[in-house]
């Protein structure tokens, strides 16, 4: 006696969350059944393995049919074939578009192309995530990217509207799309200690401050591409390190303000010029695409690593960067010489601005992508240079 056909169709489509997770995780029916058996469901319900097998197959079939609709979530809401309560629909979509941190970290900043897709089996072996699941996540990224690529309006809003994702997830997708579009290098060994949350935080600030959308909200692609003009303008920051007087003045302003407040004051004082030079050089180079891509690598090399070798605590880094960007505005020469509009603007905005590094840090802290997350970043904001970063508690020697 062999079972040829075995189906169950409910008027309200039954969704078993556990099975859905197993399906999303890319397990085959056999593996899923084995995992469910291990979870002790048979003992709880008194069912047999055959029943479990049939149940799992059934759910897999349903999910398979739903997958087509999940590719365009608004369709799931309007379709008539599956009657699913709205809360369940939301759950289906959210889970389908959820991704593994480990996986996204691997593809972040890579081009979402066929070539990358071919590498998925390597990623799968490396991360231990099934290939099926990797493919799903990759295709999700790609699909979202394709849909919102050419759209006007806020990136996050577009994603939310077309994929009905929760706010959190939509922001994450915005970050992924942003990184993929600008192809930021994140895979280097030096950057390995940074989590996706860290990058997502950076992406959000960059979208807010560095993109075309930050200037004019009615452009195509506005939140995806960096504002070329702005990057061009950043070149003028070079004066900060090129002009010796200005550099000294800047240094003394920062040192005066931070004296006594910094645990690593002497190291800071000694290294100020190097650090400043590092930051400004990174900023000034951003006119070249290749350097844009290496932004994070450069920042780590030029700024984070020196700080780390001096054992700066997190709070000190924050103080320093705050002060570093704040004191620029009081540089007379800077204001006058360098097409001061940028900096003038800055003066108006900086003190209580919600985008000041400190509050940015707080925002990051409260949304708490990861509680222990290190906010490391340097924001060259549109109207100011406001580097901010917040430690690297994963490196134990810094505590």
């Amino acid at each position: 006696m062999t079972s040829e056909l075995d189906i169950f169709v409910g008027n309200t489509t039954l969704i078993d969350e556990d099975v859905y997770r197993l399906w999303l995780d890319g397990y085959s029916v056999t593996d899923a059944v084995a995992l469910r058996v291990r979870s002790g469901i048979l003992e709880q319900t008194g069912a047999t393995a055959a029943v479990l097998q049939s149940d799992t197959m059934d759910h897999y079939r349903t999910f398979h049919m739903l997958e087509r609709l999940l590719h365009a979530p608004p369709k799931l809401l309007h379709q008539l074939i599956f009657q699913i309560p709205p809360s369940r629909q939301a759950l289906l979509i959210e889970r389908y578009y959820a991704f593994d941190e480990a996986f996204v970290r691997e593809v972040l900043g890579k081009k979402l192309s066929k070539g990358t897709k071919k590498d998925l089996d390597d990623i799968s072996t490396k991360t231990g995530i099934t290939l099926k699941s990797c493919r799903r996540q990759f295709d999700n990224f790609k699909r979202v990217f394709k849909v919102v690529e050419e759209m006007r309006g806020s990136l996050v809003d577009n994603i939310q509207q077309h994929f009905l994702l929760s706010d959190r997830l939509a922001r994450d997708y915005a970050a992924i799309v942003f990184f993929a579009n600008n192809r930021f290098e994140t895979g280097k060994k030096k950057l390995q200690y940074l989590s996706f949350g860290d990058f997502a935080f950076c992406a959000e600030l960059m979208i807010q401050n560095w993109t075309l959308g930050a200037v004019d909200s009615q452009m195509d692609d506005m939140d995806m591409d960096l504002d070329k003009e702005f990057l061009q303008d950043l070149k003028e920051l070079k004066v900060l390190v090129a002009d010796k007087d200005l550099l000294d003045l800047h240094k003394s302003l920062v040192c005066t303000a931070l004296r006594g407040k910094l645990g690593v004051f002497s190291e800071m004082e000694a290294n100020f010029k190097n650090l400043s030079r590092g930051l400004v050089n990174v900023a000034a180079k951003l006119t070249h695409n290749k350097d844009v891509r290496d932004l994070f690598v450069d920042l780590v090399e030029k700024f984070v690593e020196p700080c780390r070798s001096d054992h700066w605590p997190l709070s000190d880094v924050r103080f320093f960067l705050n002060q570093y960007s704040a004191s620029v505005h009081s540089l007379d020469g800077f204001r006058l010489e360098c097409g001061g509009t940028i900096w003038a603007h800055c003066n108006l905005h900086l003190p209580g601005s919600s985008n000041s590094p400190a509050s940015a840090f707080q925002v990051a802290g409260t949304t708490s992508v990861h509680h222990h997350a290190q906010q490391f970043f340097c924001i060259f904001s549109r109207y100011r240079v406001s580097p901010c970063w917040s430690g690297w508690s994963r490196t134990p020697d810094l505590r």
Partner: protein, 1105 residues
Amino acid sequence: MPGKLKVKIVAGRHLPVMDRASDLTDAFVEVKFGNTTFKTDVYLKSLNPQWNSEWFKFEVDDEDLQDEPLQITVLDHDTYSANDAIGKVYIDIDPLLYSEAATVISGWFPIYDTIHGIRGEINVVVKVDLFNDLNRFRQSSCGVKFFCTTSIPKCYRAVIIHGFVEELVVNEDPEYQWIDRIRTPRASNEARQRLISLMSGELQRKIGLKVLEMRGNAVVGYLQCFDLEGESGLVVRAIGTACTLDKLSSPAAFLPACNSPSKEMKEIPFNEDPNPNTHSSGPSTPLKNQTYSFSPSKSYSRQSSSSDTDLSLTPKTAPYPQGPRIYLCPSSPSLSCGSLHLKKSCLLLSESSLTPHHSSLVSPVLRKSVSFSEELFLAASGMGSGSAGKEGGPFKALLRQQTQSALEQREFPFFTLTAFPPGFLVHVGGVVSARSVKLLDRIHNPDEPETRDAWWAEIRQEIKSHAKALGCHAVVGYSESTSICEEVCILSASGTAAVLNPRFLQDGTVEGCLEQRLEENLSTRCGFCHIPYDELNMPFPAHLTYCYNCRKQKVPDVLFTTIDLPTDATVIGKGCLIQARLCRLKKKAQAEANATAISNLLPFMEYEVHTQLMNKLKLKGMNALFGLRIQITVGENMLMGLASATGVYLAALPTPGGIQIAGKTPNDGSYEQHISHMQKKINDTIAKNKELYEINPPEISEEIIGSPIPEPRQRSRLLRSQSESSDEVTELDLSHGKKDAFVLEIDDTDAMEDVHSLLTDVPPPSGFYSCNTEIMPGINNWTSEIQMFTSVRVIRLSSLNLTNQALNKNFNDLCENLLKSLYFKLRSMIPCCLCHVNFTVSLPEDELIQVTVTAVAITFDKNQALQTTKTPVEKSLQRASTDNEELLQFPLELCSDSLHSHPFPPVKEHLESASSNSGIPAAQRDRCSSWIELIKLKAQTIRRGSIKTTVTVEKASPVGDGNFRNRSAPPCANSTVGVVKMTPLSFIPGAKITKYLGIINMFFIRETTSLREEGGVSGFLHAFIAEVFAMVRAHVAALGGNAVVSYIMKQCVFMENPNKNQAQCLINVSGDAVVFVRESDLEVVSSQQPTTNCQSSCTEGEVTT
């Protein structure tokens, strides 16, 4: 008479990509009705076209309106080649043809293609302007309401239950026409879908005509089936119960509070009008006697359109000689190899007034079949071999007719209902059934399907005579079915013999019925259990005892019925699903030999099925079966029998004895030991089951009840019957042992197997109950969560050395596993009950067994489980009685009646818009069958005005898609698709059905030539069933409804050819589209608007919507 059908195509969405180059579609729509076709413009390059067409108007006969479906075809325009069809939508416009149903069909319909399934959706608006047909010779029957529900629909009340209506139409199956060889599968499928749609429409119209002739206005328990006879054609047949229904003045029902006559007046123009409920021109006019008044129209219609026999139209005046003719005529292509009767021996005693007729009435053929059952205690079956018996039945019936009530004048006193108004059912005799094996022949003249009609007439006659033999004059819970394999066809009919209260069947006034109903109800809670036949002339022996409830009348020790448990019956504990499953191998054979082989096997199967049922019933410690349905399926090389029923413990019936096992060889020690071991196990199981189902009847000492049976008489009968029967099966001797114990004799391994299999049935996991009746006896605090589902399983038997035992085991496992799987799937709903579990078995191929289950899981509140015992019907009864009281308090309002007697209806919109200053729903007058009703309505308006406001709100809003949903099932903010509930039950727990929108009867074919790509057979069928559900829901939503009740999947024919990567499936579903309102919503509204001022609430309703 003409009607005007208006159709507007609004938009499409989610269309498939038809042009690969642009990834878009240039879609347009063809709208076809009858022979007229309209087209929309082509909407270029869009997957979401907005046609927004003009109104396409079709001027057609109402006959066509009833028969034809509206066909909407969506196509992709192609400049160079032929336009590609995207898919079709068939809309049955029947619901628009009768009053108080839907007024408009508007909504998104899935576009369906038989090859690709659902491909996008289309938004359509359909309206009908119907001019009333006053012609008494008319062919149409617009206005007759159809209900699948097998009880009186919830917001109606039966004024008269007229009785059985049946009809069948035949045609050639397009799939088997020569042209099928050259046309595409799609064209064939569509031809078939269209034809069946057309035939159902025609069938419904013809049945409607019959109902009008009987002066009814509705068909309840409408069951339409089709037989795919393959080469020999396609038969669509339907049975139902004609009724005169009257809208109930229940609180949530319609009090639209408007001054104008309601739109249904359009169908009620003169006193010639067929609807009896309009006859009440004044308070004192009683309803006319409608039982049999022939009008000229009858003969007219018979001549020209009805394919039917005259049986249903003429009063019976002579016996029919049909039996012998059919059996003996050698030239007849049909071969009737046997017809089987089966009778249950569990019968009950009737009132003495019936018994005098009885002694002379048992016909020979019955005696034979009955005697067969005597020894078996139950369920005998015999071959209807003699023609003499055939004639005897009708003859006796004739005698009886002359002395019996109006019911007896009917050709077939059958009722397809399974639940009845209180007091309707007086006594229940037992299950009667008949089967007959026929050889299919080509239907030569589709307009004269005489043979099919004759076949059914013959079977019905047999059922009728069986019922007579049980001292009953009617058959309730009646149903018919067929099983076809190649050219052999088994026709089956079954029902429950019963004695009915004649008051409902004729012209009695409603109030009279009501009173009597009430008074009777008090005294006869156990009445239906009492035997209807004479104790001294029982058709077969039974253990009779005095009723455990009233102690006055005799009751049998077990009772089998096909109906639902009467709501007033006292039940101890809970019920459970009991199934008997059986397979029998047979040799492959051709034509007559095959038919003979089958008819030889049938009696044994019937017998074994009943033995199994009885054993299982005893094992559960119960004494009655309800909703019994025995299905015998024929395949190439085997026969399958599956009986499902719900077992209960009726308080009026005696406690069942246990099961005793007796060994054949008492001297063998180890054997003895084994037997006693088994006995112990059985006893344990019984004890466990009693606990599980909470069966703990009060102990009653035997003396009070009296001795059960006159022993000597039984003995003698037993002897006689043994001598009559030569079957080895009858070796069981039930006369030993304790008088009420059921003895199983184990004489060989087969018997051993049987006993084992008894014990293998696993009870459902805790928190689960199951039954195949509407409601689970013993549970009445349903919560609102329901989940209807369909599950299909097909297994392939290993063809090697199949034996009956192996087959039985496989089949048993299949069913048990299926149930287990259901319990597992629905575990999140615990505590819950699977209601209306409906198993269907088919044998699509040699080694394939297909089982289809449709049921609904309903959650209930465990905590309150034992508190209230009031059933909904009892409540409504109470309501009715209060209505009666109130009736006396508002006598003066009568006068308002005389004001409203517009003979012709104004437009229907009045119904929705107008509101009355007085707050009295004058329009309601038209619905009332009598002035009394009106007064009740008024009384209720005043009393319950606050509650009615919900309805008013709905009424006041323009009817359209979603209006009802706003009220009753608020859709989630971001979802545009309203929830449509589906249930095989006639009610929705925790909700009130406020309106019936019409019958849903849909037929779909799906075919694929890429089976593997669609996920194999499971993927294919899963998707198809999901699509069918979707289409049913879409149609209901378009009618403005939010639920389907009495949903049934009547056919699911699945054929596969994996080698060719092909599969095909046919599904036929039906149900009643309704609007329901949650009871909690009603309460909310009533608490918000505590005043009873109708007008203010009306106004408010208009404002809010």
